[in-house]
């Protein structure tokens, strides 16, 4: 077995999508001045409800819709706590993570009467998309073609978000809220509405990320199956400076690290160091990006 080959990059691209989707959701929240630590919980909610939707409707599209709807509901709870009740977003985010870990495990028992994991071979996962013509190109075709639709959605979302932030008026307004909430309010921007909008969109993106986890590669749900991906997404968001293209880059890097540590297990090498790399890189990057980094965390003065 080779250490680096096509399949490594193929699996890296596959692993990128949940991280990228969630990180974009986190970036939207960060851009309106809310540090969303609850990504992990939102993804978990999406992953679980995707399976529930799939089980009851046996329709993949409706399953995706369920995942998105439930994640949005949870994100609204987060939004209500942070915007209306003015609770600390970090505390509320941690609470959301705990709540979803508890609720999904609980509901797994209550709905499917199983413990640990739910798997049903009759359930169909997300289809593979073979892009015509591209799939026939030798190397590129192998890399790009044949992923689940959500993989493409993730990269498309990054581009769309970039266009939204930097090419549309509403996007500028969103950025303005994050830059200076009071100034934005004095200009007559509906700050609360914009913040809710960002939180709802992050719910949508995290719901898709969860669906990719539970319906993408394997069609099953296991307790706590996000396994820290929400936090990796948060780190990818920080490293990418809440800039959609930057996030796409950092997510690709983290996806590659993820794929690499799985590959290294086959070589009986310590995987801890490859797993550590994303965090170490981000810490080092914080030294250089610190001035701009505070930008994406405006309104977060707890550490002062």
């Amino acid at each position: 077995m080779e250490l680096f080959d096509y399949s490594l990059f193929v699996s890296a691209i596959r692993m990128v999508s949940p991280i990228l989707l969630a990180a974009l959701g986190g970036a939207l929240c960060a851009r309106v001045g809310i540090f969303n630590v609850g990504l992990e919980g939102l993804i978990l909610a999406g992953a679980f409800s995707a399976i529930v939707g799939n089980h009851f409707t046996e329709n993949i599209f409706l399953a995706l819709l369920t995942a998105v709807a439930v994640s949005v509901l949870v994100s609204l709870l987060f939004g209500y706590a942070t915007i209306h009740l003015k609770s600390n977003p970090i505390v509320a985010g941690i609470a959301i993570n705990f709540l979803m870990l508890g609720l999904t495990t609980f509901a797994l028992r209550a709905i499917f009467d199983v413990k640990g994991a739910y798997y049903n071979k009759d359930m169909s996962g997300l289809p593979k998309v073979d892009i015509p013509f591209v799939e026939d190109i030798p190397v590129v075709g192998q890399l790009i073609s044949g992923h689940s639709p959500l993989v493409y959605t993730a990269f498309l979302a990054a581009i769309l978000l970039y266009v939204f932030f930097y090419r549309t008026v509403t996007g500028f307004r969103v950025l303005a809220v994050g830059k200076n909430e009071a100034a934005a309010r004095s200009l007559g921007l509906k700050v609360t509405t914009i913040q809710y909008g960002a939180i709802i969109m992050s719910g949508v993106l995290c719901g898709l990320a969860g669906a990719q986890l539970s319906l993408g590669q394997v069609t099953m749900f296991t307790e706590g199956m996000t396994a820290g991906r929400g936090f990796i997404a948060l780190v990818a968001m920080m490293l990418g400076q809440s800039h959609p293209i930057g996030i796409a880059g950092s997510s690709l890097l983290f996806g590659l690290m993820d794929a690499l540590s799985i590959r290294l297990q086959g070589f009986s090498m310590p995987t801890q160091f490859t797993a550590m790399l994303p965090y170490v890189i981000t810490i080092i990057a914080m030294f250089f990006l610190k001035d701009r980094g505070s930008d994406s965390l405006a309104g977060q003065h707890t550490s002062r």
Binding site: K86, I90, G293
Partner: protein, 358 residues
């Protein structure tokens, strides 16, 4: 005339926590009835599981021990106005250092035990100090760096016990250190019960923390720094030194939490044994619930531990999954946090007034 006022003063801060507990229990009740179990009897089983007899009571206290120590550390950092999200890493590094010190340092068992505790506290403290130093020297946000350093610490500890310091004596290759000499174990408080000396240490730490915060000059400076950093600086407080000091002791308490868990209940460092039960996050919740009051943290740590051990008892006796506990905990925190930030917002506004800018 005096008495109602006093009562008012005593109970006003308790209203919101009690309300939050009530809402948490209500959410739990909804979840329980969703499974179709009788609510009242399930809660009774939960109570029995946490406090039903002497054995369960001591199990609850044993579980509260690391939660309390972590909570005290987080509370101390909060008081100084910083959000230490890195308790998990500090605790794990403390635990693995304590285990390795107890294994490697020669000498009589008592020396090993003391060395292990010191090593654990140092490791946790220095790890937290690193984040504090990055904040004060390079303006790397503490909130982010502590979160990131968690993963580095946990993975590094996992490497240590899966690689160079792995227990090779057993037949199965588990990621854990060899067992510590029995002489270096923290003694149990009651024979056959799981609560150990660590609980006493934790209570002593809480008392010491109260005394320091209430009656000493550095404690006053820490509180001032947390309440209003500008005023504190104006009053001649060395902000950097104080930040580093409070981070060090915050981490040391988390390290101590890991150490006593290793020395008092597991007798070796097992990979994941401290992270899987979520001691660090529960400890953070305990500090938040108590609004960073050390004495209050003692109460909330025991309360949260009781929820967890109670849920285990409940799962043994009813059909309700034990995750009800995390649902109750999460709802509790969600509603308690509303208060916490009302205060933050208030002093943020003050901050702006001082500056004259936003």
């Amino acid at each position: 005339m005096m008495l109602p006022q006093r009562l008012h003063k005593l109970f006003t801060p308790l209203i919101q926590p009690l309300l939050a507990v009530l809402i948490g229990l209500l959410a739990g009740a909804i979840a329980i009835s969703f499974v179709g179990e009788p609510v009242f009897e399930t809660y009774k089983a939960m109570w029995e599981g946490a406090f039903g007899n002497f054995y369960f009571l001591t199990s609850t206290l044993a579980r509260a021990t690391p939660i309390l120590l972590v909570g005290l550390g987080v509370a101390l950092a909060f008081r100084a106005g910083v959000f230490n999200l890195g308790s998990e890493g500090q605790m794990v590094l403390g635990a693995v250092s304590a285990a390795l010190a107890a294994l490697c340092i020669p000498g009589p068992p008592v020396v090993k035990l003391l060395a292990a505790i010191v090593a654990g506290m140092l490791a946790g403290g220095l790890w937290a100090l690193l984040a504090g130093w990055m904040e004060s020297r390079f303006k790397v946000q503490l909130l982010i760096s502590t979160l990131l350093l968690n993963y580095v610490a946990v993975l590094f500890a996992s490497y240590l016990v899966a690689g160079p310091f792995q227990d090779k004596t057993g037949s199965a290759a588990l990621a854990q250190t060899p067992m510590i000499d029995q002489g270096a174990w923290l003694p149990k408080l009651f024979p056959g019960m799981s609560v150990h000396m660590g609980f006493v240490i934790a209570i002593v730490c809480a008392v010491v923390l109260i005394v320091i915060l209430k009656y000493t000059a550095p404690g006053y400076e820490v509180k001032m720094l947390g309440l209003n950093p500008f005023f504190a600086q104006y009053g001649g407080v060395n902000k950097v030194k104080l930040l580093l000091l409070s981070m060090f002791f915050s981490g040391a308490l988390a390290g101590l939490a890991g150490s006593v868990e290793v020395l008092g209940s597991q007798y070796r460092y097992v990979d994941g044994a401290l992270t899987a039960p979520g001691f660090a996050w529960t400890g953070m919740m305990a500090a938040l619930l108590a609004n960073s009051n050390p004495l209050g943290t003692v109460v909330t740590a025991i309360l949260l531990a009781a929820l967890e051990t109670g849920a285990m008892g409940m799962e043994r006796n009813t059909e309700v999954p034990l995750e009800v506990a995390s649902v109750i905990q999460a709802v509790l925190i969600l509603f308690i946090s509303a208060k916490l930030t009302l205060k933050l917002v208030k002093f943020r506004r003050k901050e702006r007034e001082v500056h004259g800018t936003v």
